[in-house]
């Protein structure tokens, strides 16, 4: 078995961060998710304090950091939760049968806590750690002992989040327009696997293109195609931390060029080149302001739809990253024309599905699978009907993914209170061979 060589052959997930990589910062256990690019100058703001992200460089993904109030500036310090914390739920489980407390005697009049804001600031100045402050708050709370075990846990957690917030360093995942289960279904239903040549029409910012490229792992190719002359934006791809091998297999080509007859291709290709250069320049500008990007969660459930907000970061210059999405060379276009693509994915939530499919499906080999995502049911129903009438496809299925998360805790197991209402719809099928289709 070959050893891991980062730049050759299929790539393996790097386990440790590096200068310039994209990461996802998970603040206080899912309360807030933030993309960031790690560099000496990058920072993170929590509450009204700013912290350098330098301590995160070179640490393994999955590392946890806690805000420590040093005598000068507060900083992020690497932190291992003590094992007792991991087991506290289980101990609680044993005592649950004997819980006799409830909240009937507790009056919620905001007077239970005897420490003031000034007291806390004084403690900070003397170098008290976040945990020490939390313990002091608990010790000075008149109602703490009267709370049930669960309430005590909740109280402790709330104070910890405020006075000793934690940051978890995570591998980036980007789920802006597509719920994770919908995206995963697109890849599976279209049989995206190593050595495939996948045709993608991606109007969700590059999310599908990136997921496909990741699954190809430096093999095969993905052609990001577009109608007209201007490629669709693809900046989400930068979040994936792709190396050169993967990037060079992400290519762009307009639908016109893919469908064009031999003679016409070269003319359109040169027009195309100008458009691409312009586009890549504007991409660079986008990347400067997108290097730290705030992502809001509507709930603690990390798989619900995320709404992006661009925040100007204090990062300074963009680090050099290999660029995906180069214009497809003639040999590639030729090869795709001769062999056909091995699958097709369309993610165009605001376009008419049928008009896209009827142009793109003929570019696939026969028996090749395809998957089309839409936020609305009706366009896919119409598309499905037309595909049947025209006998272009078989095995057609119109599905809606349904995803629910559960909270699993002793005596507290139930589905989560919040849930995503809709993950969109997917029409999948297989291209059929018929005597009337042109090859």
């Amino acid at each position: 078995m070959s050893e891991n060589k980062p730049e050759s052959g299929p790539t393996v997930n790097p386990r440790v961060t590096w200068e310039g990589c994209s990461v996802l910062l998970d603040i206080n256990d899912g309360d807030r998710l933030l993309f960031a690019r790690l560099s000496a100058g990058s920072t993170l703001k929590i509450g009204n304090k700013t912290f350098s992200l330098q301590p995160l460089i070179g640490c393994p993904f999955g590392s946890l950091f806690q805000v420590e109030s040093g005598k000068e500036k507060p900083y992020l310090s690497r932190f291992i939760p003590p094992t007792e914390e991991n087991n506290v739920q289980d101990e609680g489980g044993c005592q649950l049968q004997e819980e006799s407390r409830d909240n009937r005697a507790i009056i919620d009049n905001n007077q239970a806590q005897s420490l003031t804001g000034d007291d806390i600031d004084a403690m900070r100045r003397q170098g008290a750690t976040g945990n020490e402050i939390v313990e002091a708050l608990i010790a000075n709370s008149a109602t703490f002992d009267k709370k049930t075990q669960f309430s005590q846990e909740k109280y402790r957690l709330k104070k910890q989040k405020k006075y000793a917030p934690r940051v978890l360093l995570r591998r980036p995942f980007s789920r802006r327009f597509l719920r994770v289960d919908a995206l995963s279904l697109l890849l599976s239903m279209a049989n995206v696997t190593a050595n495939s040549d996948v045709l993608v029409l991606d109007m969700v910012g590059g999310l599908v293109t990136g997921a496909v490229a990741e699954r190809l792992g430096g093999t095969g190719s993905v052609c990001n195609t577009y109608l007209g002359g201007t490629p669709y934006p693809m900046e989400i791809i930068r979040m994936f931390n792709f190396n050169n091998e993967i990037c060079k297999r992400v290519l762009r080509c307009s639908v016109n060029d893919l469908c064009a007859v031999q003679n016409e291709t070269s003319e359109q290709v040169s027009q195309h080149e100008d458009v691409c250069t312009m586009e890549s320049q504007s991409d660079e500008k986008i990347s400067l302001s997108v290097s730290t990007e705030e992502v809001h969660l509507s709930s603690k459930n990390g798989v619900s739809d995320l709404v992006p907000e661009n925040e100007l970061s204090t990062t300074g210059k963009t680090c050099k990253t290999p660029k995906a999405g180069e214009k497809a060379p003639k040999e590639a276009i030729q090869s795709w024309k001769e062999n056909g693509f091995s699958s097709l994915i369309i993610a165009a939530p605001e376009q008419d599905a049928w008009s896209l499919v009827k142009d793109l499906l003929p570019l696939l080999t026969y028996s090749a699978p395809f998957a089309i995502y839409h936020q609305y049911l009706q366009p896919l129903a119409t598309c499905m009907n037309n595909l049947q009438l025209e006998k272009m496809a078989i095995g057609l299925q119109l599905s809606e993914p349904w995803l629910r998360e559960y909270q699993v805790l002793p005596s507290r197991t139930h589905p989560c209170m919040q849930m995503s209402g809709s993950g969109g719809y997917i029409l999948s099928g297989t291209r059929a061979y018929s005597n009337t289709s042109q090859s």
Binding site: V12, F61, Y366, S399, E400
Partner: protein, 279 residues
């Protein structure tokens, strides 16, 4: 250019050969895996099909029986396999599988340890994976994989027995998934996962399918002031002989959820191996 190396390509562009494993598509819910053999026949409700008629035809072709019935011949993909196998055993379905693969962050080059029972030889992927027979619940995973696995997938009746061993197999921040039909199994697994794992999350995922029908609005009745839709004409797959511009009335496409749908497959519990400080 290495990019277009055709020897490694996945392509269904070639024709069916003697000895190929293909998927015979009868209806959207009836598919069979068949090994093509020059002298064999396939017999089903549509008639008798000679394999020799298939050889030399492209994948995706429609082929006819002696009675004029037809089927389609498809190239095998994992997705089609889940549909072929789903009649035999209670197994994961495509929604579960696709979610697991994405959530475990499986990409080419990853080492994935899986426990369960699977017929690998027939699918022809036995050159890509290594299969061992072992009592994982009793003995754990083999030592040779210690600290090498990117991900572990468990499909066991008592996964909590295998979880400590799974933890040893995983690299730092490696991912684990356990599939269990019953919530009690999930609760016990989560209890054990709390020692040494973090980010423990449990999901269920289902696919709801829709059926699509055409309703013809008959315009000749419009003058009455009452335009009534005719009862829906069912469109079965593959479709009958009718083209889009058949008659003067304009069809309306209606979609509704399928009457029969799966209520439950199992719960998927995911977790990440938590880090030791000195790793």
């Amino acid at each position: 250019m290495l990019l277009m190396d055709s020897s490694t390509k996945i392509s269904f562009n070639r024709c069916i050969r003697d000895g190929d494993l293909i998927i015979v598509y009868e209806r959207h819910d009836t598919m069979k895996a068949v090994k093509v053999c020059e002298n064999s026949i396939l017999q089903n409700r549509f008639g008798v099909f000679k394999h020799s008629d298939w050889i030399g035809k492209p994948f995706g072709s429609k082929v006819f029986s002696n009675k004029g019935g037809f089927v389609y011949l498809l190239a095998p993909t994992p997705e089609l396999w889940t549909l072929v196998l789903s009649h035999r055993t209670q197994i994961l379905y495509i929604a579960d599988i696709s979610f697991v693969i994405m959530y475990l962050e499986v990409v080419p080059g990853c080492l994935v340890l899986e426990s369960g029972t699977e017929d690998f030889e027939r699918t022809g992927i036995n050159t890509l994976i290594t299969v061992g027979v072992r009592d994982i619940q009793g003995e754990g995973f083999p030592d040779q994989f210690f600290g090498l696995a990117d991900s572990v997938f468990l499909d066991l009746p008592q996964p909590w027995l295998a979880i400590p061993s799974a933890r040893n197999m995983l690299k730092q921040d490696g991912t684990l998934c356990s599939f269990s039909p019953c919530i009690e199994q999930v609760q016990r697994s989560c209890e054990i996962l709390r020692s040494g794992f973090t980010d423990i999350r449990t999901f269920e995922i289902l696919l709801r399918t829709y059926e699509v029908h055409e309703w013809k609005m008959d315009h000749s009745k419009v003058d009455d002031g009452n335009s009534t839709a005719c009862p829906p004409r069912k469109r079965r797959q593959p479709s009958r002989e009718a083209s889009v511009g058949d008659n003067a009335s304009s069809p309306v496409i209606m979609a509704r959820p399928s009457a029969e749908t799966r209520g439950h497959t199992g719960y998927l519990t995911f977790a990440r191996k938590s880090l030791n400080f000195h790793c």
